[in-house]
Symmetry: C2
Subunit: 148 residues, 2 copies
Amino acid sequence: MQKSREDRQSAAPEYHVDRQVGFFLRQANQRHVAIFANGIGDKLTTTQWSALSKLKEIQPCSQNQLGRETAMDVATIKGVVDRLVKRGFVATAPDQNDGRRVVLSLTEDGLTVIAANVSAAVAATEETLAPLTSGERMMFLELLQKIC
Amino acid sequence: MQKSREDRQSAAPEYHVDRQVGFFLRQANQRHVAIFANGIGDKLTTTQWSALSKLKEIQPCSQNQLGRETAMDVATIKGVVDRLVKRGFVATAPDQNDGRRVVLSLTEDGLTVIAANVSAAVAATEETLAPLTSGERMMFLELLQKIC
DNA sequence: TGATACTCATTCGCATACAAATGAAAAATT
DNA sequence: AATTTTTCATTTGTATGCGAATGAGTATCA
């Protein structure tokens, strides 16, 4: 068998960044974020949407807890919540029992903006997975979850 | 068949952010970036590594071209290249034929740092995919590429 | 009770990531 | 040759994302 050029010099296998998982993960995430931003009407980012949606499920809750539930760093969730508060989607209140905590809850506007964008969020998921068949989607999601 | 609680009110299916592709993609990417940062010795980020590795393949080339090859925005590749130049891994020179272009090339230190970290980069890929079997990895990579 | 450890929120610094605007230079078109 | 379009690099502004440090409050345990 014909040896490749680098095998003549050494046994080191070729390395190509653009064939590594990390390279694809970054790109896939980029594509999804772009699709989401494009489809959503209220200039909500994917992380802001995650925070809002999760807050609807578990409110009231503290900032750090919301961060854990949405896989965001304390510094990250702080910035996200700040922007949502600034836009009037989230309200903050001091916790009576725990002086450190800030209790988060959705405002009326917050509930409204969620309701107005659920279908767009679903559509973004759909478009992201569009290149895959139904069977491939299930397989892909299962494997993707394993490496989280 | 027993109807679920929300079906009694409306036909709207449940929506859970933490079951959407985007949620998993962000987390999977986060995990890989963390693994890479942890394993690499020279404080190189995943994007910096991509730029260095790709530059080795295609040098000399312009900044924008390197950005396209590594799937980075013009503003993003600018910042990445700036930091690599600052650390002495990449050299810049004006293009003789095209007055707009900045020709990029690797320095000796750049080649050295690549050689010193290829094994760590391979290990990071390996660790990221560790939860998957060999067969699952091939399947996963194939599907992941489809949604890039 | 008092020391220790933990949790929560905040802040700083650094590094992506992209939209949008700008200016310069090159290429394509008329 | 003149106009238009494209390309390249840069800059500004906004939004994640994480490490690390800080300070305030809570919990634990000797």
